[in-house]
Every structure is written in C-alpha cells, then in structure tokens.
C-alpha cells in the first residue's frame, strides 16, 4: 500500500530487491531454517512454496489481499504518539504502531488473510492452525468464516483456560477448538498436534501456520504477509517526524509481529532493531521463554533455530504470563538477525510487562495485549538508555481485551 487508494505492490509484500535477505532455495537464513519434517509433508510444503511464488507476483492476488486488508482488516493502521507514557522513558519520543486496532484485535489477521487466499489457490477446503494466546486462532477462524473454509484450531489445554474468552470467540466463529492435553499443554504441543493432523489430512487441508517459525516456506510466507506493518510504519514515521525512528521495538515469541515491523527497516542501517522476549519469572528462575537470549542452536518444529533445550536436545518448557510468548523456539530469521548483529534481543519479566501494561492503560487510555506490553516495557528501558533525542517506534501488536482474566488476577481487580 504505497499510496492511498493504490494497490499493494509485489515489492510491498516481499520486499523484492529491497534487501538481499530472502532465504535460499532450501529455506535457509544462513545456517538457520530449512526443513526437518517427515518426508510425507515435503510435497505439501513444495506445493505451498510454489503456489506462493506465483501468487506474490500475481496482480490479481495482490489486489485481493490489498482489498481484504483495507476493507476487512482495517488497514492502514494509524500511529499514535504516547507522550504521557513516554514520561517514564527518559524523555525519548515513543510512537505506537496500532495493530491492536485491526479487525480481531491483533497483527495476526494480516498473515491469516494472506494464507486464507493462498488456501483457495491451493484448492483446499479445510484449514488447521495452532494458537497460543488465541489471537491466531481467532484470526484463522475469522478468515475461515469469511471464505467458507472448515476450520480446526489446536490449543494447549493450559492456554484454553487462561484465554477462555478467545476459545468462546473461535467457537462462535464456527471453528472447532481442540484442547491439547499432552506435553506442557501450551503452544509447542498445539503445534505438534497440528502437524499430526496435517500429515494425516494433507490432501484436503492447509496448515495455516501462525508465526515465522516452522519448516520452509512458512518463515518466508508469514513474514511477507506481516511485512505490511513495517512498510506502513516506515512511511508514517517519515510523515509524522520527518525522519526514520532511532529504534524499532517489538515483542518476540515465535516472532511474526517483530519480523513484520522490522523487515522494512533492515536496510536502514541507522535504525536499531530491538526484540523483547519473555523473561517470565527471571532468567535465574528457569521459568522463562528466553529462546534467543538464553537458548542454544537446535531443531524444533521443522526448523533450525534457537531453542530452549537441555544438554541432550529435549525441549525445555517455557514460561510466560503471556500465552503468545510462551514458546521455546523462535523463527529462524530472528536467529539469523541475532547472529548477524542486525537486531538485538532482550528479556522482559512478567512483572515488568504487567507494569507497562498498566502504565499504558492509565496514561494513554490504551489497554495493550500482555505480549505487546513486553515491547512497551522494553521501550521504557531503551528510552532511558538512548535519551531525549531518540524516537522509538513500538509495535503495539494486539489489544488487551483477551487478557482481562490474567489482569484481574494479577492486579486483584
């Protein structure tokens, strides 16, 4: 969406030619990414990659996607400067990219609409998806309702409980929600179960993967569909402040909202990129989701990346107060951005995130998702470090309505 009224271009979608960081033919970002999956799934992954490669340069596809983004998702989303919140940030300016204002209340809708259109091109009638916080599940159920697709959502039983409102929303939208009761009963187990469904029903079903992790081509496709966040924000920052931001901040679980806002800025060397993972109860407690900051290189869910694992490669359960960041893996492009030094990753504890959650509500009248609150807390820290000359762009990736149960408990409301 380069200009008002014009359609999304192929370059907006994939950033073709803007930077040289697309994965190679094996889906590798440096040593990261690739495909570590049962052979049975390879033809389906090849099919998705091939249909996407055609679609992303097809004017008709771009027109359809653009139309849905504008008339259904509510794009472009606005920027909001938050001076009262920023008083706690050492005088730095803080500007929010308002993905919370999209239809369904989080950035997930961007990827979902793109992949739902791909599902039609694949000729498939059924979509499955995993969900942690429930936002990807709600977005998928929404797109399935819109396009008349059968929809099954896998969600950890623990997450079903802490995000009960989203379970109800998915059901209302006509999706079947399957609580996953094995393993840690959170996002990673929901992904395992979704893969089991996919390998069994691959002829009829598209796995509408919700983040920039997983086997090739998912990290690339999900990134491209989320990329609109940064494309818009970059232009809007120039309009608002006359300059690019000093830094861009985003929360990182699997990493789709972060890649979505980072990607358009990767070529702007002067712009710092900061990702904030969930430090849970703190690094030393062992109860965290610090995949990039405290994990090691391994393979999880089909991709080589940073993983929380023990010395023999068993996945270690993650912890975060926010279901959407409670994941022991991360997208391979983030692993690559970390090792190349282009982006920097930090941890934010549950308590820091909840303080930022409450601060934004009281100072600006915006209730953020707890996931996004990790980026807000990070921006407060970063602002104090960078000082009053800095302008910080934060991806407010979702709204906090779904988190009221957690907030009531945490704040004794």
């Amino acid at each position: 969406m380069a200009h008002e009224g014009s359609i999304l271009t192929a370059a907006d979608l994939a950033g073709n030619g803007v930077h040289g960081d697309d994965p190679d033919v094996r889906g590798k970002f440096g040593i990261f990414g690739g495909r570590y999956v049962p052979e049975a799934l390879i033809p389906a992954l090849d099919e998705v990659a091939s249909v996407y490669a055609t679609a992303k340069n097809d004017v008709e596809f771009l027109r359809e996607f653009d139309h849905l983004l504008r008339t259904y998702a509510g794009r472009p989303t606005t920027l909001t400067e938050v001076p009262r919140f920023a008083e706690q940030a050492g005088g730095a300016r803080i500007v929010l990219k308002r993905e919370d204002l999209t239809h369904t209340g989080a950035h997930k809708i961007n990827n979902v609409l793109g992949q739902a259109l791909l599902t039609k091109r694949l000729g498939k009638k059924r979509v499955i998806a995993e969900t942690g916080a429930g936002q990807h599940g709600v977005a998928t159920a929404t797109a399935a309702a819109l396009l008349g697709l059968e929809c099954v959502i896998y969600m950890g039983a623990v997450d079903c409980e802490r995000q009960a409102l989203n379970v109800a929303r998915m059901k209302l939208l006509g999706a079947k929600v399957v609580p996953v009761t094995n393993g840690s009963q959170t996002l990673k187990d929901a992904i395992n179960e979704a893969f089991r469904d996919w390998v069994t029903n691959v002829d009829s079903t598209h796995y509408l993967f919700g983040t920039v992790a997983g086997p090739h081509p998912f990290p690339e496709i999900v990134r491209d569909f989320a990329r609109i966040i940064g494309v818009e924000a970059r232009r809007q920052m120039l309009e608002l402040t006359g300059a690019l931001p000093t830094a861009v901040c985003a929360a990182v679980g699997g990493g789709s909202n972060a890649i979505g806002i980072f990607h358009a800025f990767i070529g702007d060397e002067g712009v710092q990129l900061h990702g904030y993972e969930a430090a849970g109860r703190g690094l030393d407690s062992g109860e965290h989701a610090l995949t990039l900051t405290a994990g090691s290189v391994g393979v999880l869910h089909g991709s080589r990346t940073y993983v929380l694992q023990d010395d023999e490669g068993q996945t270690i359960d993650s912890h975060s107060i926010s279901a959407g960041l409670d994941y022991p893996g991360v997208g391979p492009e983030h692993a690559w951005l970390k090792d190349s030094g282009r982006a920097t990753y930090h941890g934010i504890t549950d308590d820091q995130a909840m303080a930022a959650f409450s601060l934004l509500a009281r100072t600006e009248g915006i209730i953020p998702a707890i996931e996004s609150s990790h980026a807000l807390a990070g921006a407060l820290e970063l602002g104090r470090e960078l000082g009053p000359e800095a302008t910080i762009l934060v991806n407010l990736s979702g709204r906090g309505d779904k988190d009221m149960g957690t907030a009531m408990k945490y704040f004794n409301l």
Partner: protein, 266 residues
C-alpha cells in the same frame, strides 16, 4: 554385531519377510525395555528399533507418545539408550535406534554414531531428517560403519523417492499411509504401490511400517515387502497389561503371530 545385510539376506534365502519390532528405550522401565525387546527377539523379531524418547514426537500417534512420555518421566538419557542397544544387540538381533534429529544434533553426530557403533548398534532411522539436511549424519554414520535408514511416504514423488533412497543404506522405510504411528484396522493399499515405486529406484530391501498390528496384516504386507515393522501394537499391549511380566508374555504372543505372518506371505 548382526548387520541388516545379514538379516535381509537370510530372510530372502528363507523366502520370507523380516520382522522388525519397535520399542522406546526406558519403557516400561530402563531394564524393562531390554527385557521386552529380548522377548520380541525370542519370539521371532529379526530387527529391533530402539526409540530414543523425545519431548516433541510430532510423527507419533497417542500410543507411542504415551510410552515416550513415561520413558522421559523415568529419566531416560542417551546413555540409557546406548545401554539398551547393547543389551538388545547381545541377543543377536540387528539393533537400530529410531530418533528425531535434534537429540543427535545436540549430542554431536560423530559422538552419537561412534557410541552407537560401540554399543553394537547397526544403524539409525531418522524420520524427520530430510535428504537435504542429512549429509552430516550420513558422513558420521559412514565413518562409524553404521547404516542410515530414511523414510518414503505415499505422497513422495519419484524425484523424492530417488533422493531418499540415495541416502539410505541397510533398508528403506516405506510409511504405509499419510499419518502418524499407530495400529489401524487395515493396512493402507497405498503401501504396496509405494513399495513398487521404491523398488524402481533401489536394490535395497524395502520395509513397511505404520498401521501394522496383527499377524494377518503382517502376512499381507510380507507378500510385497522385504520387512514388516510393528511398534504401537506391541506398546499398546504393554500399556494394557496388569504388570511388566504379563506385558512381555503378551508381546511375545503377538510377535509369534507376526513371525508366522511374515513366513506365510498372503
């Protein structure tokens, strides 16, 4: 150590298919896994696959997930897997490790291959290692003198089958159906076609797994395959048995039925 080559040559000479049994290490207990596998060998299994329990078994159905989960709760480590292989290989069966890739990757490919060879292991089956990513493991296995088995599936194109069999030594594992592990009422008809297509690209033995649970099914699969792989059906019997001893007796009974099956190609 009994090699896969020896096993399949002998089975071929006997005009029968080989019987391959799967059990995870550490299930129903660390010593119990050796006892269970020994019972299978005594009842007629030619090859034993020892599963390396992994926290995220995304190719496995509920039965193996359950067993693997119990094994991990038993504190099973890679040293226990190697000890299990050593105990089972001592029975004279060709003994493989079946594992997802990450535990080997983390442990170190060369170290894992060397220790497996030292324990008397014949090789590995790696269900989530694609040909594109397999080079380090094939090199380490070749250096240690152990076999590498990979999977083909009903969805595999001719080009993929060729790429997979080119990475295999020992045998090729043909997944009979699109799905996860677990016994089924019938073995998918796609299996026979897949074996036929696989043979067009290799002279290696082709074994069929996924969904085989009865002697009659074993007999049917043995008519067109070089080996019949059975896992979940054994594990289900151990899970359902009142105690470990009853479990071993029960799997021995099923293995005898299967051993009959692979000798009476239907």
């Amino acid at each position: 150590m009994t090699t896969l080559q020896t096993v399949f040559a002998k089975a071929k000479a006997d005009n029968r298919a080989a019987l391959v049994g799967y059990l995870p290490a550490g299930f129903p207990s660390k010593d119990g896994a050796i006892a269970a596998a020994t019972a299978l060998v005594e009842a007629g299994c030619d090859v034993i696959e020892i599963g390396l329990p992994y926290s995220d078994p995304l190719m496995d159905g509920p039965t193996i997930q359950d067993a693997v989960h119990r094994s991990l709760l038993n504190g099973t480590r890679i040293a226990d897997v190697m000890r299990t292989v050593e105990g089972v290989a001592a029975t004279g069966a060709a003994t493989l490790v079946m594992t997802y890739w990450n535990p080997i990757d983390r442990y170190g490919a060369e170290r894992f291959a060397r220790e497996l060879a030292d324990a008397g292991g014949a090789g590995t089956i790696t269900p989530d290692l694609t040909p594109e990513e397999s080079e380090p493991w094939r090199a380490a296995s070749a250096a240690a003198g152990i076999d590498t088995v990979f999977l083909v599936a009903p969805s595999s194109t001719e080009a993929r089958i060729k790429a997979v069999v080119d990475c295999c030594t020992g045998f090729v594992y043909a997944a009979s159906l699109m799905g996860v592990t677990g016994a089924r009422e019938t073995v998918n008809v796609a299996a026979e076609d897949l074996v036929k297509r696989t043979r067009a690209h290799t002279d290696l033995p082709v074994c069929v797994g996924l969904g085989v649970g009865t002697g009659a099914q074993a007999s049917h699969v043995a008519a067109y395959a070089d080996g019949v792989i059975v896992g979940s059906a054994f594990i289900r019997r151990i899970l359902d048995a009142p105690d470990e001893a009853a479990g071993y007796a029960s799997i021995a009974e099923l293995a005898r039925e299967m051993a009959q099956g692979v000798r009476s190609r239907a």
